[in-house]
Structure formats: C-alpha cells, structure tokens
Symmetry: D3
Subunit: 318 residues, 6 copies
Amino acid sequence: MRQSKNLKDTPRYCGIPTFFNKPHTRELAGVDIAILGIPFEMGSAPGNIHAPRAVRNVSWLVRSTNSYHLYDTSALKIVDYGDVTAYPSQYEKTFANIEEEVTEVVEAGVVPICVGGDHSITYAELKAINKVYPELALLQFDAHTDTHDSYFGDQRFTSGSVFRRAVEEKLIEPGISVQVGLRGTLYSENDYKVSEELGFQVITAEEVQEVGIEEVVSRITDRLEGKKVFLSFDIDVLDPAFAPGTARPEPGGLMSSEVFRILRRLEGIDFAGFDTAEFNPSHDVGNITAVLVANIIFEFISLIGLKKHRNDNPREGV
Amino acid sequence: MRQSKNLKDTPRYCGIPTFFNKPHTRELAGVDIAILGIPFEMGSAPGNIHAPRAVRNVSWLVRSTNSYHLYDTSALKIVDYGDVTAYPSQYEKTFANIEEEVTEVVEAGVVPICVGGDHSITYAELKAINKVYPELALLQFDAHTDTHDSYFGDQRFTSGSVFRRAVEEKLIEPGISVQVGLRGTLYSENDYKVSEELGFQVITAEEVQEVGIEEVVSRITDRLEGKKVFLSFDIDVLDPAFAPGTARPEPGGLMSSEVFRILRRLEGIDFAGFDTAEFNPSHDVGNITAVLVANIIFEFISLIGLKKHRNDNPREGV
Amino acid sequence: MRQSKNLKDTPRYCGIPTFFNKPHTRELAGVDIAILGIPFEMGSAPGNIHAPRAVRNVSWLVRSTNSYHLYDTSALKIVDYGDVTAYPSQYEKTFANIEEEVTEVVEAGVVPICVGGDHSITYAELKAINKVYPELALLQFDAHTDTHDSYFGDQRFTSGSVFRRAVEEKLIEPGISVQVGLRGTLYSENDYKVSEELGFQVITAEEVQEVGIEEVVSRITDRLEGKKVFLSFDIDVLDPAFAPGTARPEPGGLMSSEVFRILRRLEGIDFAGFDTAEFNPSHDVGNITAVLVANIIFEFISLIGLKKHRNDNPREGV
Amino acid sequence: MRQSKNLKDTPRYCGIPTFFNKPHTRELAGVDIAILGIPFEMGSAPGNIHAPRAVRNVSWLVRSTNSYHLYDTSALKIVDYGDVTAYPSQYEKTFANIEEEVTEVVEAGVVPICVGGDHSITYAELKAINKVYPELALLQFDAHTDTHDSYFGDQRFTSGSVFRRAVEEKLIEPGISVQVGLRGTLYSENDYKVSEELGFQVITAEEVQEVGIEEVVSRITDRLEGKKVFLSFDIDVLDPAFAPGTARPEPGGLMSSEVFRILRRLEGIDFAGFDTAEFNPSHDVGNITAVLVANIIFEFISLIGLKKHRNDNPREGV
Amino acid sequence: MRQSKNLKDTPRYCGIPTFFNKPHTRELAGVDIAILGIPFEMGSAPGNIHAPRAVRNVSWLVRSTNSYHLYDTSALKIVDYGDVTAYPSQYEKTFANIEEEVTEVVEAGVVPICVGGDHSITYAELKAINKVYPELALLQFDAHTDTHDSYFGDQRFTSGSVFRRAVEEKLIEPGISVQVGLRGTLYSENDYKVSEELGFQVITAEEVQEVGIEEVVSRITDRLEGKKVFLSFDIDVLDPAFAPGTARPEPGGLMSSEVFRILRRLEGIDFAGFDTAEFNPSHDVGNITAVLVANIIFEFISLIGLKKHRNDNPREGV
Amino acid sequence: MRQSKNLKDTPRYCGIPTFFNKPHTRELAGVDIAILGIPFEMGSAPGNIHAPRAVRNVSWLVRSTNSYHLYDTSALKIVDYGDVTAYPSQYEKTFANIEEEVTEVVEAGVVPICVGGDHSITYAELKAINKVYPELALLQFDAHTDTHDSYFGDQRFTSGSVFRRAVEEKLIEPGISVQVGLRGTLYSENDYKVSEELGFQVITAEEVQEVGIEEVVSRITDRLEGKKVFLSFDIDVLDPAFAPGTARPEPGGLMSSEVFRILRRLEGIDFAGFDTAEFNPSHDVGNITAVLVANIIFEFISLIGLKKHRNDNPREGV
C-alpha cells in the first residue's frame, strides 16, 4: 500500500482497519496517545466484546482536524496499541491484563484511551491510572449511576457496580467527581441518593435539557478545574435515536450535538485518561453508533492535543 | 423459575415475556392497572398487529421506579390482562370484543392501558370508558388529527377518522380536549380547521418546538384540570429518528425527551385510561421504538400511581 | 382473551408469547412434555441468552399437526415451564439451577425439551437426566465436536468442551453415541480423531451430502435403537443460509429439509430428552432461524408423541 | 431520459420503476402480456400490499433473454398495466375491481400476470379467467393447501380458503389440478385429505426432494397436458432461506434452483394466466425474495413467449 | 387503475412509483415543476445511484397540502421527468446529459428539482441554470464545504470540490451565497477559511444550535433577498439520527424539525432551482432518510408554489 | 496484546482485524501466500470497495486446519499485504497500482490471493501474473460470462468485459479455461456462445445441479491438469440464499456445500493465484456472505499448502 503523507492522496477506506488509520504498535517511546481495545463483558449485555473492532472499522471516516477548535491532531503521535487479551466471563484474569497494559501506557507518560467493552472494565483501568495519579476525579457520562452494590446476590464486579468498587478502593475521589446524563427507570427511589451520599455530584439528563449546555459546562468545570480527571463515557448517555447500539437503552437522553458542545468546552481540564463503554455493535443500526463513538474519541484526542499544545506553548493562551 | 422478590436477584430477561414481567391473569380483584394488548389494524398500515408482542418482549428492560418522580411503582398491583381477541379486517366483531373487555376492566375500578394496534381501536375503548365516565376529555398525542370523515368512499371506522366518530357519538367532549404534536402534509388546508371546529384545541409540533415545554404543559393542564381524561398516544407524534416503527412517519416531530418532560408534568390530571397506537414493529429498527413505547407506558403507570398515592395520602401534597 | 378450543377461531398471534401458545405452569402432574428456556451463555458467543424469548415469540406460527406423520400433537399435555434462572457468566450457580429444574421434570416422568442458551448447558441437563437414565446415548447434531479439553488455559465448562466433560463424568456413553454434521475449520488435524477415540461415531456434513439421507438415518438408528437417547441439537449444524442466527457459522452445512427428513425417520428411537443450543437471535435475519428452531422443536414433540401413542396402542404398529 | 434501443446503452437502473422497465399503459392492442399489481391482503399476514412495488423496484435486474431456453423475450409486447385499486380490508369492492380489470385483459387476448398481494386475490382473478376459459386447471405451487373452509368462524374469503371457494364456484376443475410443495405443520391430520377429496393431486415438498425434479415434472405434465392452465405461485413454496419475505414461512421447502428446473420444463403446457402471491417485503432480507419473484415472473414470460413462438412457427418444433 | 381525482378515494400506495404519484412525462408545456432523478456518483460513496428510485418509492406518503403554510400544491402542475441517463464513473458524458436535460427544463420556464446522486452533479446543473440566470446565489445546506481543490492528486470533479469548480467557472457568485450546517472533522484548519475567502458566508451547525432558528433565517434572508437562488441540499446536513442514509455521516448535525423550520421561512426568496444530494439508500435504516428527503422536496415544491401564488395574486400579500 | 502461540489461549476476536489474524507486512521474504485487498469498483455495483474490510473483520472465525484434507495451514507463512491503493472511478491509475503490487508478489515467488473489489480488477491481476506465467489457464466460478465487449457505448474495462479483454491481450488462454456456474437472464441468445467461440468451456449452474459434483470436478480437472491456473471466484456463482452480498444476484445458483466439494477436489491443480470478486457488504445480511468468502479463501490457502506439502514431500503421495 503506497500510503502517502497527504491523506487526500489515498482514499481513507484503504488499508488495515486500525483506530483512525494509526500504526499498530506496542512501542511507546515518543507516543502521546495509545488507543487500546478491551473486548470484555460480564454477560448481561452480550455483544459489547465486538465494539473495538466496530470502532476501528469506521474510524477511517474521521479526518485529522477538529472543526470547533480548528486544531489539527496530525502533530500528535497516536498509536493503535491493539486489544487487551480478555477472556470471556473471566473478570479476574482479564482485569489483571487490563491493569498491566494500562499501567505500561500510563507509566510511559502516554495518555490511554480505552475502548470497551462493558463498563466493568473501568475498574481495572482506574487501578492502573490511580497508581500514577492517586488523587483522581471522575467525569462520568452515563444514563446509570453504576454505583450499585452487587447483582444477583454476589456479583460485585459488574458494569452496574463499577464506581462503587472504585470508591471503596479509593481509586477515585467521589467528592471531586461528577455524573452527567442520569435518567431512565431505577431499581429504587434511592439510586441517585446513593451516588450523592458517596459524594458524587449528579446532573440528570433532564437537568441538562432544562438548564442548557453553558450551565452544565460551568458546573463540570467548577468541580474539575485543577484536578487530574478520568473521563468515562458510557454510550447510553445518548438518546437511543443517536446511539441505538447499546444493550440498556434509555430513551430521553442527550443528543449528540449536546455531547459535542459539552466536550468541546472542557479544554481547561487536565485529563489522565479516557474510556468509552457499553457500545454494542449487535444493537447498532446502519453503524451510526460506531461512527458517533469514533467522533467522540476524536474529541478526546483533541482535548489531549490542545492541552499538550498549551503546555508546549505556554505564552499563547487558549 | 425461582423468581425472587428482589428483582436484582434474577436477571430481568428471564421468564415469560409479559408486560413488565407482571403476572398474566384475568382476575381483577385488588388490581390497580390492567394492561391489554389489542392486535388489530384496518389494513392500510400493515404490521401493527404485532405491536403488543413487541412491547412485551422488551418491557423487561423497564425497572420499577420513576427517576423523575422518585416514585416506586412496585406498590401498585399491575396485571398483563392478555390480548383482546381481534379478527383480521373485521372491525365490528373486534370492536365488540374490545368494548366488552375494557368495560370489564373499567367497571372493576381498574385503570386500563391498551396497547394497540392501529388508532381505530380507540373508538371501541372509548365506548367502554364512556359508560363509566360519560363526560370524558381526550388528550391526544399525534401527528395527525384523525378527524377525517371517511376513507376510500365509505370506510368510516379507520385510524384516520376515529375521533370524528368519537365526537359524533359523544364518547368524548371535544370542547375540553387537546391534540398535541400535529404536523406533516395534509389532505387539504382545512384539516386542522376541521379539528378546531369540532372543538379540539390544537397544538402543532412546530408550536411545541417554538413555545417550549413549560408553556405546552400549561396549555394542557389549563384545559384538562378537574376533568376525567383519556390519554391516547399515537407513536407518530415522535420524530421518526426516535420512533421509526410506524407506518405513516412524519419527520419534524417531537423528541422523546420532550414527550417525557410533558408527560411527567401531568400528574395533576385525573386519567380514566390510556392507550398507545400505531406502533408498527415491522418498521422498527433495533427495537428502539419498542423500548420507547414501553417507557412511555411506564410513565402512564407512574401517573396512575402518583394519583393513587395522593388519594391514599391526602395530606402529603405532591 | 377468549381463546377457543378450535385454534382457527382465534388468530394464533393473539396472546402471551409462551412456547407454542401452551400454558405457562410449573405443575407437572399429567404433563407429557415440559419446555424450559435456559438463557445462559459463557460469553464467547454473545447473544444466546435471548434465544428462549425469540423462539417463544415466533412459535405461534407452528400448528398442531405433523404433516409427515399426520400426527396431531393436541392430545399431548405440553407446558411452558418458564426459564431456569441463569446468572450471566456464573456457570456454577446456573448449572446447579439447571440440574435442579431438569431433575424435577425428569423425575416427574415428563420429557424435557430445553431451549438454550449456548451448548455449555447440556452438561447440566445431562447431569439431571443421567440420574434417571444412567446408560444414556447422545445423538448430537452439530458443526463442531465440542469435545475439546479446555479454552484459554483453564476454562473447562464451555460450549466447546461440554461433551468431553460429559464423557469424563460418565453422563453419556460415547460408545453408543453419534455426532452428525461436523464440518468447518478445525483447531488441529486431530479434532475428529479425539471424538472418535472417545468412542463417538462421527458423520461429517460432507458425508451426509454424499451418502444421502437414507444411509445416514440407517447409521444413526443402527447405533441408537434400543438405547435411551438424549438428542442435542446445535443450530450450527445447519448451513448459515438456513440458520444465520448463530455466532460460529460454518458454511457448507445441512439444509433444513435434510434435517427434517432425518428427524422424521427417528420415530423408532427412545428419547429421554432434547435440547437446542447456540441459536443467537442477534445474528438472525428476518427471524428465519427462530422459525426453524420452533419447527425443529415441533419435530421433537412429534417424536415424543408418536412414541407415547405406540406405547398406549401397542397393537397398532407404526 | 434518452433510453436507447440497446439496453446496454443505458444502465438498467435508470428510469421509472415499472415491471421490467416496460412501458406503463392501459392500451391492450397488440399486447402479449399485461403485468398487474394487486396490492391487497386480508390482514393476517400484514405487509403483502407493498409487494408489487418491491418487485417493480428490483425488476430492472432481469435481462431480456432466458439462459435455459436461449429465448429472447424482446419480441414480446409486454406492458406494466399498473395496480388494481385495492381497498384495505374490503374484499368485496376489491375483488370486483380485480375481476373487472383481469377480464379486460383476458378478453383482449392478453395473458395476465398478477402480482399479489395475499393469496385471496386468486379467487377474483379466476372469476375473470373462467369466463373465457371455463374448463380451467390449476397448477399451484404452495406450502399450504389453501382449501380450508373458513377462518375465525365466518371469514370465507381468505388466503387459506381461496381454492375451496374456487372449487365450490367451479372456477377451476380440481380433477385436473395439481398442488406442489405442500409441507409444514397442519391444523389437522385431514388437511391434505381434504385437498385430495376435492380432487387435487397433491405433491408434497418432501416428495419433490425424494423423487427428484424429472419425476415431478412428469407428474405435472401428465396431468396438465392439453388443458388450459392457471399457474398460481405462492412464494412460501420456497424454503425461507431462499424466500424469507413471506409471513407464514415453512422451513424444509424447495430451493430456487428446483423451482426453476420445474418451471423451465413446463413449456408444453398451455397457460391462461399466472399469479404470484404472499410475497411480503416487510419480511424480506436484502431484497433476495423480491429478486427471486422477479426472476420467477420472467420464467412465466418465457413460457408465454415460447408458446407464442411455437404457435407462430408451427413447423419449427420445440 | 381507476385513480380518482380525490386522492382519498384510492390508497396512495397503489400505482407506479413516480415522484409523488405525479405523471411521468417529458412534455413541459404548462408545467410548473419538473422533478428529475440523477443516478450518478463518482465512486467514493457508493450507493447514491439508487437514491432517485428510493425517493420515488416512499413519496406516496406525502399528501398535497403544506401544514405550515396551509398551502395546497394540487394547483401546481408537477411532472416526474424521469432519470437523466448517467454512466457509472463517467462524469464527462454524464455531466453533458445533465446539462442538456436541465437546460431544456429551465429554458421552458419550468423549475427543476434534481434528485441525486452524489454532490458532484450540482456542477452540471449549475452550468444549465447559469445560462438562464447568470447572476446566481447558492444556498447550500451541507456538513461539508465541498470547496476542496481536488482529490487523489487529480480528481477535480468530485462531490468534495463541486463548489470550487462552480466558483472558478462563475456559475455561482460566492459573495451572495451561504453555506449552512458545516461541521465534522476537517482535512485542515483552513477548510472553512477557504470557503470564506472564496466569498461564502459560513454558518456552522454549532452556530445554528447556539443562535437559534430565527437568527439563522434572518442571516440567510438578509443575504439572499432579491437574488436568484439555487438551493442545494446535501442530506448530511442532518444528524445521522435523522438521516442515517448517507455515506459520510457527521454526528452533531441538525434535527429535521430545525431544517423544516428554516426552509418554511424562506418563502420570500426567489428560487431558480433545487437539488438534493448524497442520500444513499444502502445506508438508510427503516427508510427514514428516504421519507425525510421526500418531505424536504415537498417543502421545495411549496416554496415554488407560494411564490407563484404571490405572483399570480400580487395584491394578496403573504 | 499478549497473543500466545496457541490460538486457543487468546480469544480469536481479540486484536487488529487483519486477514485471518495474520501479520500485516510488506516483507515477502520466506512468505508463501500474500493476501491483498483491492477496494475498487467501476460504479455499476456500488459497495464492493468495502469488501476487503468486511472479510478481514470476520476472518478471525476461521481456524487453522482444513477438516476435509485434515491439513493444518499453520506451517504456511501467510501475510496480510494490505490494500492496493485504488482511486474511485479511475481504473487506469488503479490498474497500474494493482499490476505493480501483484507483480512484486508473484516475482517474489509468493502466491497472491486478491480480495476485490468488482470483477474488473482481475484484468490487472492477470497482467501481473501473466508476466511470470505466460501460458495461463483460467478457472472462473461465476454466474456471468464477463466476456461482453463493452458497456454503455465505450466502457471497455468493466466487470462484465474483463475476460474478453484478458483473451484479447493473451493474458489467459481460453482454450484451456473453464467457466463454471453460469446462469441467470442474458442480454442475448449468444452470450454463452460468445464465451464458447472465444474458446472457454462452459458449465452452467443447471448442469452442475444435474450431472453432480463428481462429474463437474472431472470435467474441470481433465481440462486444467498440468496447466498453470488462475482461479477467479465471483461470489455470485452462489445462490443468493447463501451469498446475498452481491449487487447482481442470480437466483438458482450453487449451494456453498457444492462449491466446497468442488474446490476441495482440485488439489491436483497447479494454481498461480486466486481472487474473489463482487462481494458487496452493503447487500450482505447477517455477515453470512463475508463469512462464506473467508472460508472460500481458506480453501484456496489449503490448496496452496497441500501443493507445497506435496512438493516438499514428493514421496508421500496425496
């Protein structure tokens, strides 16, 4: 394949389907961003394991430059780090692998973007990131709190209890963390209260719709400014019209334009890492969720790049 | 099936697909809400007959508690009353069955939620409900007026003429009724005027988009407060992006978040019954319409429960 | 629902979607056949958990009488026994439930038909059936041997190793068992030899295509006549053109007409139970696999009924 | 549109979607074949009304020459006669329209090919054709006998009772008629016997699979040679793998190659007309049924043309 | 087909699928509007060639009267002019055909509505329209600027460079033109600046979302009032949730209600012609994009009719 | 990714989607087989460009060992050579790239397997292969002859004329070549005669169905034994039930089991290269065509490996 420098010289759909047509390598020297697939799920939302593959497939559609920030990401060194080896239904072995691989990335000074997988994986990612950034805030986009204690009697490491575990093990500090987009039917009247009592700030989807984007951004940045932040993006924060590809769809969610407008205004935040979870290609229609996930990851890349640009050019201002 | 009290102890997708995993029974003693399937259509929008089945299938996704009202519906006794026996293309025999079954429900003091089927069925439901509540207001969510006189020469009992018939036979009082969400191309310039001259208040989709949710809610509650109201929800009030599963899609419709925000603010209204119509699974994609319909029915259940709760606890306030 | 005796008096699509519109009950007195859903999978072929629901949904299409045997199954008492409570990714707890429930059925003298789920569940079913019928032959329709030792290092209870476990624990006797329809790419040259060395008779798909139905039937009946037999039907024995709804499709498989012609000629065999496995609705297209599975189960019902009929009318002959 | 004589000069997908890109006209002078759409259904298999449109859409794929007969149909004058006006659920008015339009065609000496719609329409077509050809044989390809007496108490004009009505009203002579491809579950043991007692010759799908194409053709031609024959083709005669687009799919059916091989060997038969029924686009996947129906209609056209060619060139032989 | 005057007398889905059930003819005398299909694409977004057919198929859903303007389009004489003969991958021959056919339409005083095809076709349309209206403004709804210089080295006549060519050849005047809805990832930071330096006014999707419909309409009408305007509507201006049927989807786009609200407020503009581009049926789900495109074309028809009505009735006012 | 030697140690769906999980490299030293994607099409069957990507995606499903030959391909060194850079609609530049890349492969003594793309690409592949093997036979599996002279006046390098060009330029020798599976409607009575007069042996699909696999294999091997052969596999040779993913589907085609049985019996043939063409993912349903194509390519790999094995072990026999 004679792949030229100038992307326009080769149709972007040519070539091996890596994330954003970036090279697949495990060399981390000089790398800014490593994108990892984590094809794992605990079984109640079957199909998530094929998400990394589905995102790779459509990510050629994404070009290099952010049209809001007018920022060209070509200057960043980004790699497709491959998939973490994940064993069906075996979370202990799999979490060990996730932790090991993400640790390698973070310790190399590289920002990880993890592409799940169900939301249970974030626990293992946070174990790795917390080693380097022990005082970590969480910015969670999600329809659900994911702070339940356990499922089916004794299942404690599921997508629905991941942030309860993270708080218990002090991987994140709920007092500086935010959950955005909560909605849908609940198990009990206390579901949101549980999150709040753990310390999280809660912003429901209906609040976003009522107070508007500017106010939401200001609540988030007020809480997160100056902290080291992990952004965990559960696809179901979006309305099923925009992101049908998920196994626990909750109507009444955010529009993709609202999500973009929020993300683009977070350039002042200092992010330690990112992930996307709960994209389920077997529920997708016409690949619209896959394309949306790829574009959301591109916004993560832009946020990392803008921060790096500011650090490298401190006098420029934003 | 060892189905435990605590829903979290059994995966919700286990078991016979009844509405919301509720017991299937025709015993009405002590029941608050009976959900009936009405698999009937008059033929021009083929596929609606399979809607009750499609809603049953996905309704396990809905949990017990309303996240806006923080109201747990578990206290309500809800049953899946089964399907009304409906004969393809034979509206007279079918309407007689619908009337008989809904009458049994209403006369037992139980609130019926009917899951159509095309919109023609509402006529037969109203015949039953009107016997108990002779002064009945209609709150209709719909892209279409459904007040045409007849189709194809002499077809008078169709989804497009159902409310003309209802007015003629005094099953509803148009002077205290509202139609919300009207839009799309019309047969003539007079279509909306016909509705208005019958007495209906008309709020178009574009008006909803321009005046905002609060104003729409206030127009509705101003008109309906203190009345006994039947809420008829035609799925096509939603934009096809949110509810592709319908045979006469009209782009430019409401978002699901807008519908939820309106419905949740109607808790002051005294509802005699509910239905959903025109959900057509053969047009659905990725089940997103089915899931949306199930969640809309859950809002109906919440409205019934909140009312009952207030009646049982008069001093509490809302 | 006024459901009349005569099926033709009510459209079959009316009503709660139980298996074949049969009553959902856990009473086993006087019952001939209990159909159980087993919504379980070990994670590598995600989506199988929704198979029981998908089969229930389309099973109304199946009428009461077998057109080959001209045998009316209405005389049989068949129940939808509901779903075994199955926990995502937790095979030990789930297998215990399966074993307990199938044991209840078999000990009541009722023939179980289990609707999986992935193929790992057959292990637990066989544990139950083996208690009553300790000398059990297996008739396995499958593209794969499912006699691998383990996966991913130490996963020993998977769909690919289920019959290795069953042989090790003497739940079946391989020396009187048959595997029909094997094909597709293998892990090693020894995969079929492993099955044969365990004692199984192996008939590949290509052999079926070359020797013809009559010869295949004769090989099967020669081996199984006079034995107590469990029939385990993995959907992937069919070519993906006929059964796209499976997660490990192997082109070059059997046609549905070939499968029917084989099954219908097994009426001399004495079956202790049946299951279907690996139907995955998330891979299905246009429900054709679901409809096929329902019709295959109907052939199981017919085989049970014909046997019972012969036992009840010993002088009639077949 | 500059549509040239030579089809290869214009991409076939250009232009208005008429049947086989033929002119849409109601002029019958000089016409050999008129293709009529009949968008009607009685309601139990919803979606058939859109079949004529779906066939028109893909029929550009079909070229002019039959590769088996090496016969070029370009010499025939074929028109798209449009759709019969059909009213949803109103069979009396609709059947009157069908009868009137088909009568016009047949009385003009033109061979009609009717594209349904559900199978109930054949009754009305036969009323028209019987006027001109009072001694009419039926060649029916079908999974079902369609000789039931009535449905749901008193529905006598349905797709399942169409040939019972036709026999009662002497529109066809069952003693010279054949039903090919019967299979699937039955309402009772007598379903096939009913057909046989009416006089039909019955050839089941399993018989086709066992005796082979040559023998089936010989049974058909033995019975039909020298008669005036109406060929009614119910799409469900095909296995759902080949024709998923139908509402009562019966696995175990014929392959499309088998159907072609039978149809192509019927050139000695004298056909008075043809129809296709029960193609349901809402069940189709990837348009494969639509394309198959178009190709089957092309075989009808070829049979008409070959007959005409022989009549015009009596000394040539076949 | 007995198609009556009153549309309600015949089900609209009956008949040959022309645009809006209008007659297919190439006679232009007395005609107000000619709708042309242009089944052409340059290859990078495969599937657009089938768009005219897909729009014809669903356009029966659109009734005669605009519900916002309460304007009945029945008075207009509208024809389906057929498809321009377009050769796969051969733009020169195809563009010549487009230019010739559109010229015939425009020179006959008829307003053309062209249904593409990819966006490259607009170049050829503009060549035709520019002959009659040499001072032409462009109103472009689009996610992309389409003002790139060339692709893959030397491809200069593509969908992405169409308006660069149009400006170079003075077919449009960028200084009086507007691009609405731009967004998505870019090839470089200068993409929007390139458009602006050519002279276009640029309104991004995010600006539409932030300033609101009223302000957007006022910017557009300020610029276009008094000019002769060509409206080119690229389907990808809509969010993929509303219009999944396109090959370069860009999440974060406009809602269909927003597009309708803008279009309906442009009745003061003097339009010389319209087109739609980049609708790709192979990416559509549940036909929702096809239906949306048909309704957008109906808004074009309304704008033409309202203008004509004002011209014919100068004293009425709007 | 810790990808172990033993495939069973890592779930096969983990990792970058290369062909069969093989390394992506352009190093040819020591390589046995290079698989190249060729994402090109000439425009009349839009969607083929995405075929290489779709095959890569599902090819993890294929294991290492051929179950018919009991041959393990792990010993072969196979690489994913990437995609040839192909420009939309520009066949000259693209064919030059194909020729250059395939030449590199063949001249390195590596067997190329090209994954199209439409059938026009085979011309360029043959130009490369012919340089090394000037006396080349063609074994073509196809529904169509692809020996037309030109399309649309002057398009001479299309999928329908590729083998006419190849014969004219003496890239293949038709006198030692075979076309298998021809069927479907033709442009004229002479289409097959044209192929035969060029020198090809023609075996229609109906002949395959009538004479049986053994006879077909013997006709092919009689003609090809001792020659250097290029195998070109057009997916449309398969019936649309088995391979819906193609843009010119022809019902009545081969079953996948028939194709496998033929291919597996060609191990005596000496192949110079292989390709697959006309797989169109936008027409596929449930990925069944993609999976079938991957398995067919695996049969090519097996044929290459078996030949190499025999050459390396001359005394073993087959």
